[in-house]
């Protein structure tokens, strides 16, 4: 058995390596539903996970959807996103204003009624 055969994609060790050992970047202020949009195309030589994020975010996509598509925990995705935000390769759209916001509530009611 080669060492590669023992490599389990889901182990914390792998996740640790993906983020260079960093944990959740609170300062990035990313919510599960913060919408992310790519600002540049993937480039050769990028970390594959960064590249994947840029590819799935051509249109706005929430942090949690990125996590689901990349099959990586949100806690890891936020670290990867912090890198891309710092390099201005992605943009995080402003979160909804603080709650309860009556206009948002009205908009959601209206939207649900039209489903």
């Amino acid at each position: 058995m080669t060492p590669d055969d023992e490599w389990d994609e889901g182990t914390p060790e792998r996740l640790y390596i993906l983020t260079g050992g960093r944990s959740g970047p609170e300062e990035a202020g990313l919510d599960l539903v913060t919408l992310i949009v790519a600002r540049s195309a993937p480039q050769i030589g990028m970390q594959p996970e960064h590249e994947s994020i840029l590819r799935v975010c051509e249109s706005p996509l929430s942090v949690v959807e990125i996590s689901a598509h990349l099959k990586l925990p949100v806690s890891i995705v936020t670290v990867l996103l912090a890198d891309l935000l710092a390099e201005e390769r992605v943009e995080a759209r402003a979160p909804a204003p603080s709650l309860p916001d009556i206009d948002i509530i009205k908009a959601v009611i209206h939207g649900l009624q039209n489903l």
Partner: protein, 206 residues
Amino acid sequence: MVSRTFETVAGPRSEDTLPSSATSAVKIVIVGGFGVGKTTLVRSVSEIRPLTTEETMTQASVSVDDLEGIERKSMTTVAMDFGRISIDDELVLYVFGTPGQQRFWFLWNGLFEGALGAVVLVDTRRLEASFDVLGRLEESQTPFVVAVNAFDEAPSYSDEELREALDLTDDVPLLVCDARSRESSKGVLLALMRYLYSLAMTSEAT
């Protein structure tokens, strides 16, 4: 990491992409015990096929599920399903179905912070599974409604009986739904939103 391969990520299907005008998103959390129909409800209202996000939790456990009672380090994968509804060109609503056990909630930092509110989904055969959840939501001051998922084989109770069993005050909306039905599930979300509207109006008036 010489030979690690990274499988190609498919990403959202083209019909599932959000318009570039989408600027902000809000969330509603569906909380309930195992098998109560959270994912069914999410699927009923979602415009995309429900997606799953997973976190791993490492813990030293002598848990109730551990029949031998042997202490060992275990890794648990906890999954959360969610769906999406485009409200208009700019606003998107995400609906999360999260496990009822509060010990899992911390895995998704800020799941409840900034949430519009919550739906506690209840199975009348396992009312006691909801007690803890209701208490936690009250503590965290997350507004919620209670929806009874009416399983065919489950006993039905009057509103009064349910309110008493769940220790619900009269102001908390209580409704019966069929999580398999889109209309019914939509009604649950609307009941929560109308409740939030009434709360917001009351707080504005004072």
